[in-house]
């Protein structure tokens, strides 16, 4: 029987080491996030750092988010038409597709796509800057890396990913409507009338609020992974992969908790309270 040598750590020790390492990483990430927020409040972003990041995150992502959104709506229409048609409820497809797109699929799939497109690129760029000592050079020239590199990326993702989500929602709604009304011959008037009665402004707002948190998470996770990248080509690649995987997991976990939170807010405060007239 194979036995562990005197220096081989047992399973409990290994598990403990993994737990300690995970807690250390979490603590480090929390400090990093708070310091970044501190820099965002304390000093306006460095000149020339905002526009390039907004262009990269916002403008360059438009085609990929538009295509993602459109196909989400189209696929849902294709998958649901037969079921709804058999029940004689084809005209109600719009409400089903649109509420799913604006509440869940639009924000989550747009954020996932952007985590892959922008998050990985950010992590790889910052990891390369770290490996080539450009981060050290920034510090030596009086710029704080969090202020100079992280704050503009956080602002770009936090502000533009919600806007991109609105576009993904719009494209999803139009894609679903195109398939239902043009391909399957659903009466357009009833399709849109049912959509309007079931999808409220609050449903759209829920998606946008989620997208804001997804955007901030993508920026913070990706920058944190990049700034803590290991040396070499392998280290840069690993940072990019870790940024995407961690962002993806966090998007799904956040989605769950935000859905519960926002539905509670809706039931307690909006359905019977102050926001009823608006939403």
């Amino acid at each position: 029987m194979a036995m562990a040598g005197p220096n081989t750590p047992g399973p409990i020790v290994s598990l403990g080491a993994v737990a300690v390492s995970a807690m250390t990483l979490l603590g480090d990430f929390a400090i990093f996030s708070l310091q970044t927020l501190g820099w965002m409040i304390r000093r306006r972003p460095a000149p020339g750092t905002i526009l390039p990041n907004f262009y990269l995150v916002g403008v360059r992502s438009v085609p990929v988010v538009a295509i993602t959104g459109m196909f989400i709506g189209m696929v849902m229409a294709v998958q649901m038409f037969n079921v709804f048609n058999k029940m004689g409820m084809a005209t109600r497809l719009g409400s089903m597709i649109n509420i799913t797109v604006v509440r869940e699929l639009g924000p989550v799939l747009a954020a996932t796509m952007l985590a892959g497109r922008i998050g990985s690129a950010m992590a790889a760029e910052l990891a390369t800057m770290r490996v080539t000592e450009q981060i050290d050079a920034l510090s030596c020239l009086g710029a704080h890396p969090y202020h100079y590199l992280v704050v503009p990326r956080l602002l770009a993702c936090g502000l533009l990913i919600p806007l991109l989500t609105v576009m993904a929602d719009f494209m999803g709604i139009m894609g679903g409507a195109f398939i239902c009304t043009r391909l399957y011959g659903v009466e357009a008037h009833f399709y849109w009338a049912h959509s309007e009665s079931y999808v409220s402004m609050w449903d759209v707002a829920m998606g946008v609020i989620k997208a804001f948190f997804f955007g901030c998470s993508i920026a913070l996770i990706s920058c944190h992974r990049g700034l803590n990248g290991q040396p070499g080509a392998e280290g840069v690649g690993r940072s990019a992969t870790e940024a995407f995987v961690a962002s993806f997991v966090v998007i799904l976990v956040l989605d769950f908790f935000l859905a519960i939170f926002l539905l509670t807010v809706h039931d307690r405060f909006i359905l019977h309270g102050i926001g009823r007239s608006f939403f």
Binding site: A46, P47, P52, T128, M129, T132, E133, Q134, D136, A137, S139, C140, L141, G142, A143, H144, Y148
Partner: protein
């Protein structure tokens, strides 16, 4: 009575540095006086670059103190540390130019970050610094990827000098350059010292650089090959006495001879 100018500008006191329980520097103590040009030499992996980064607060020691002009760098708050760092210029090993910016913007970076000067004043300083390191005006718009190794080093030097530093740190300034460009960089180091009353710390393997620019040489030895109880500093003195230093390891490094190292490495590849 001692005045501020009599005090050492940089002081290492019983400095130890570890990375993930791997010790790189052990009980290092020495001072650097104002205006001195000191070269730090030693085999790869002996902690020369780490020492340089400790001087400017890019790394913090595991134990011991690094003081700059009386300030313990480990204890300074962020803002104060940034202010002290601006008194340094750092020429990185591979120049560490910002890839996304052209030469002009790289040199102007530190000046713009201070947000105290007009763009016109910044332009004058950038052009002056680029001229001092012998770069033509048409190089201003080039990206770092379009430059040769020597040009990158010179842009890095111009960028480091833009803020008029009191201390210049050079991390292997001539590594990877041809012999002529090596001498150009050596001359530039001397010119910087002649133009401004700077203290210079040069980390190098290049003995020609040592003999040309140094007032004082400190030689470090890798901890992994140090006998227990020995000091990690093998030599601390003027460059002229290097060749007559009693320690055979100093002689071996100065003459660049493998001797028993080849046997050691074959017998113990780790």
């Amino acid at each position: 009575m001692t005045t501020a100018s009599d005090q050492p500008l940089i002081s290492f006191q019983h400095l130890t540095m570890e990375f993930h329980q791997h010790r790189v520097l052990q009980d290092i103590s020495f001072d650097i006086a104002r205006g001195q040009t000191i070269t730090i030499i030693g085999e790869s992996g002996c902690g020369k670059t780490v020492l340089l980064k400790l001087m400017i607060g890019l790394l913090y020691p595991s134990s011991g103190r690094v003081t700059f002009d009386g300030h313990n760098l480990s204890e300074l708050p962020d803002r104060e540390l940034t202010q002290q760092r601006l008194r340094f210029g750092f020429l990185f090993q591979n120049a560490a130019l910002f890839d996304s910016m052209n030469v002009y913007d790289n040199v102007a970076f530190g000046l713009r970050e201070q947000r105290r000067m007009s763009e016109g004043d910044i332009r004058d300083i950038v052009r002056k610094r680029l001229q001092e390191v012998g770069l033509p005006a048409n190089a201003e718009s080039k990206k770092p990827a379009e430059l040769s190794g020597g040009m990158r080093k010179r842009v890095g030097l111009a960028r480091a000098l833009a803020l008029n530093p009191e201390v210049m740190l050079y991390d292997e300034p001539t590594t990877g350059l041809d012999p002529i460009m090596t001498d150009v960089i050596n001359e530039l180091i001397l010119q910087v010292r002649q133009r401004n009353p700077v203290t210079s710390i040069v980390v190098t393997h290049e003995m020609k650089t040592v003999f040309k620019v140094a007032d004082r040489v400190v030689m470090l030895h890798p901890l992994s090959r140090l006998n227990p109880g020995d000091s990690q500093i093998l030599y601390d003195g003027p460059p002229d006495s290097l060749k007559t230093a009693p320690d055979p390891r100093v002689q071996q490094f100065v003459e660049g001879q493998a001797r028993e190292r080849m046997l050691e490495m074959t017998a113990n590849p780790a």
